[in-house]
Amino acid sequence: MADVVLAEGYRPPPTVQGTWFAWLRDNLFSTWINTLLTFGALYIVYFAVSGVWAWGITNAVWEAENRRVCFDILAERAQEQGVDELTGACWAGVISWFDSFIVGRYPRGEMWRINLGGLLLVVWMVPIWLPGVRDKIYVGFSTVFLYPFLGFYLFAGGEKGLFLQVMMSLAIVVLIGNTLNGYHGVRTGRSLPAVVIAGLGMKASSDKKQRNTLLAIFAAAFALAFWAQMDWALVSVEWNLWGGLFLTLVISGIGIAFALPGGIVLAMGRRSQLPVIRILCTGFIEVFRSVPLITILFMATTMFPLFLPEGFTLNKLVQVIVAVCLFNACYMAEVVRAGLQAIPRGQYEAAMAMGLGYWKMMGLIIMPQALKFMIPNIVGNFIGLLKDTTLVSIIGLFDILNMLKAVSQDVPWRGLHKEPLVVGAALFFIICFAMSKYSRHLEETLGGGTQR
C-alpha cells in the first residue's frame, strides 16, 4: 500500500464500522415486526432443538446389552426425576451395529481390506488437491481407470487371473509414482520424471534418451510389482456379503466414475452429424430418462439374463451396477448437452479454422469450457446418484438402508427404528454436504482463473 501514490482528492473507500451489536440491530431488530419475527423464529428453533437434544443427548442411553435394558434405564431415570416417562435414544443399539452399517455382512476379520482400500483411494486422490503438483489430470484418470482393479481385488479377493494381475501391478506402480510425484510437486513444484532425470544427471540428454530411461525404470518397477503381488493371496469374499455404506459407495462410486465419461459420449452422439448415431443416442437417453430407476433396477435383474448366452450368469451386483451406470450416464448426457449449448459458435469455428479435428476441438477447446459451466449440475447429479443408490435395498442388496432397517429385526434390538435412521441420515448428510461444498469451492477456483 505504502508505495501507491494517491492523486489529490483520492481517498480509500469507506470501511463498514460494523460491530456485532450494530449488525443485530440492523438485521434482526430494525422494526417492531422484525423483532417479533426474530423472537418467533427463535422460539420455534428452541422448541425443535430442545426436543431433539433431550431425546438424542440428555436422555440418551449409550450403553446397554439390548433394547429392554435401554427402556429399564430410562424408566429408572424417570423415577429419579419424578416424571411419568422419559423418551431417549437408545444409541447402544446403533453402536453395536455400527460396523454393519459400514460394511454389511462382510466378514469382520477381513474388514481391514475395506479400510485399506478406502485409505489407498484417499492417498491416490490427495495429490489432486495439493498445490504445486504437476499433471493432475493424470492423477484423475488413473484414479478412474486403475484404482478399481486394486480396489476390486482388495474387496473381493480370491483367484486372480493374469489380466487382473497385470492391471493390479500397474495400479501399484502408478500409485507409488503418483504419491512420489505429489511429494515432489509440493516440495519443489517439479514432476517426478523431471526429478528422476535430474537425479540421474541426464538433463542434457536428448528427449528420446530421457524417455527411454523413464520407460525402462517404469518397466523395472512394473516387474517388481508383478513379482511382489504374485504371492499376495486374499481370501475370497462373495459379493453377497458386501453391504452397508461400503456397498452404497461402491455402487455409486462406479456410477459416478462412469456417468461423466458415458454422459459426454452420449451427449456428443446426440449432437452428431450422423443420423444413425444421433437417433440411437437420443433414443437411448430418452428411454432411460423416462423410466424410474427402480423399474430399471428390476428390469436389470430380470431382463439382463435374457440377453446373455446360455449358462452364463451375472451376479446381481454387476447387473445393478450396469443399470445404475447407464441410468446416470443418460442423466449426465443432458447436463453435458446443456453445458455444450452454452459454448458460443465462434469457439467451434475458431478451433475448426485452425485445423483442429473434431476430437481435438472437443477435448481441448469445447469440453474444458463446458465442464466448468456444468460443475454445479454434475455434482448435483452425483449427490442424487448417491442417494438414489439406496433403492438397491428394494431388490435385496444389503446396502446401508437395508442394514439400518435390519437393526429392528435383530432379536436384542427388536423395534429399534428411529435411531439407526437418524444415524443413516447423518451419514448421508455429511457426505452430500461435503460434496456440494466442494463443488462450490471448485466453481470459485476454476472461475477465478479465467475471468470470462
Binding site: 469457439q347 479454422a353 485452425m354 485445423g355 481435438k360 477447446i365 466448468k372
Partner: protein, 267 residues
C-alpha cells in the same frame, strides 16, 4: 454436375482461367453458388487470387461477404462450383480439409480467442496439436509473433483481461503461428473503438508488407486504398465490381458501387 460447370467456364471467362492456369494462383473460385435454404447467398462467384495478393472485399450488410470468405476454409459449404485452395479442391474429403484449414488463417470480427487458455496457450495450441511442434519451440515462435503484434508482455494473461484491440492482435498472432499461406479477415476491426482500430490496422499493414496473401472483408477504405491490390464490391451475393483501388474509388463503373461508396465515404 461439377464437370459441366467447369467446361462452360472455359468458354465464358477465358481471362479468369488464363490466370488460373498460371502456377502462382493460390485461390480459385469457379462458378461458386451457395444457398441458405431457399436463399441464394452466393451467385456465380468467379475469382482467382494469386500468391501474395491483397484483396479487400466490401459491400452492404447481408451481401454475402462473410459467407464468401468462410467458404474458402469451408466453415460454410458451397453447393455448386469449385473452390481450389493451394492446389487442393474443397470437397467432402476430410483429410484435404484439415490440411487446407491449417494453411489458411482466419481472423474473426469477435476475436474468438479461447477464454480458458492464456494468451500464450492460445497461440501455441494449434502448432502443438496440429503441426506437432515441440512445446518449447512453439513457445518461442509464439513469443516472436507476440513481439510482432507488440504485446509480448500480455503472454500470461487470459483473453478476458485484455482490451478489444489487444485481443484482436492476439487473434492475428494466433493465426500467424500456424505459418499460414493465406490469411482471411472477416471485419477484424468493426467490433473495436477507433483507437484500437488503428493498432489492429497497423499490424495488418505490417503483415501485408511481408507478402502474405490476404483477403480482408472491411469497410476501412483507408486500408483498402493503401494496402489492397484489388477491391471487390459485392451486393446480393454477386461480385458487382472488381478493380485496383485507384480505379475502384475514383472511377467506379456500376451505379451500385457509386451509391455504396458515396454512403460509406460520407460517414
Amino acid at each position: 454436375m461439377v464437370e459441366t460447370t467447369t467446361e462452360t467456364t472455359e468458354a465464358e471467362t477465358p481471362g479468369q482461367l488464363a490466370s488460373a492456369a498460371s502456377s502462382d494462383v493460390i485461390i480459385l473460385l469457379n462458378h461458386v453458388n451457395k444457398w441458405f435454404g431457399e436463399f441464394h447467398v452466393l451467385r456465380d462467384i468467379n475469382l482467382s487470387i494469386t500468391q501474395g495478393e491483397r484483396i479487400v472485399v466490401c459491400g452492404p450488410s447481408g451481401s454475402g461477404k462473410s459467407t464468401l470468405i468462410r467458404c474458402i476454409n469451408r466453415l460454410e459449404e458451397h453447393q455448386e462450383g469449385d473452390i481450389i485452395v493451394d492446389g487442393l479442391t474443397l470437397g467432402s474429403d476430410l483429410k484435404n480439409l484439415d490440411q487446407i484449414r491449417s494453411e489458411v488463417g482466419m481472423v474473426f470480427q469477435s476475436f474468438n480467442l479461447f477464454p480458458h487458455l492464456t494468451v500464450l496457450e492460445n497461440l501455441t495450441l494449434a502448432p502443438i496439436w496440429v503441426r506437432k511442434i515441440p512445446k518449447s519451440e512453439a513457445n518461442e515462435a509464439a513469443m516472436a509473433y507476440l513481439e510482432r503484434v507488440k504485446i509480448p508482455e500480455q503472454a500470461d494473461k487470459y483473453p478476458g483481461q485484455l482490451s478489444g484491440g489487444q485481443q484482436q492482435r492476439v487473434a492475428i498472432a494466433r493465426s500467424l503461428c500456424m505459418n499460414p499461406k493465406i490469411m482471411l479477415f472477416d471485419e477484424p476491426t468493426s467490433a473495436l473503438d477507433p483507437e484500437m482500430i488503428k493498432e489492429v490496422l497497423e499490424v495488418m499493414v505490417e503483415l501485408a508488407s511481408t507478402g502474405m496473401t490476404m483477403i480482408v472483408v472491411t469497410h476501412e477504405m483507408g486500408f483498402a486504398k493503401t494496402v489492397a491490390d484489388r477491391v471487390i464490391f459485392m451486393d446480393f451475393g454477386e461480385i458487382i465490381e472488381m478493380n485496383e483501388p485507384h480505379q475502384f474509388f475514383n472511377n467506379p463503373q456500376s451505379d451500385r458501387t457509386k451509391l455504396f461508396l458515396s454512403q460509406i465515404l460520407h460517414n
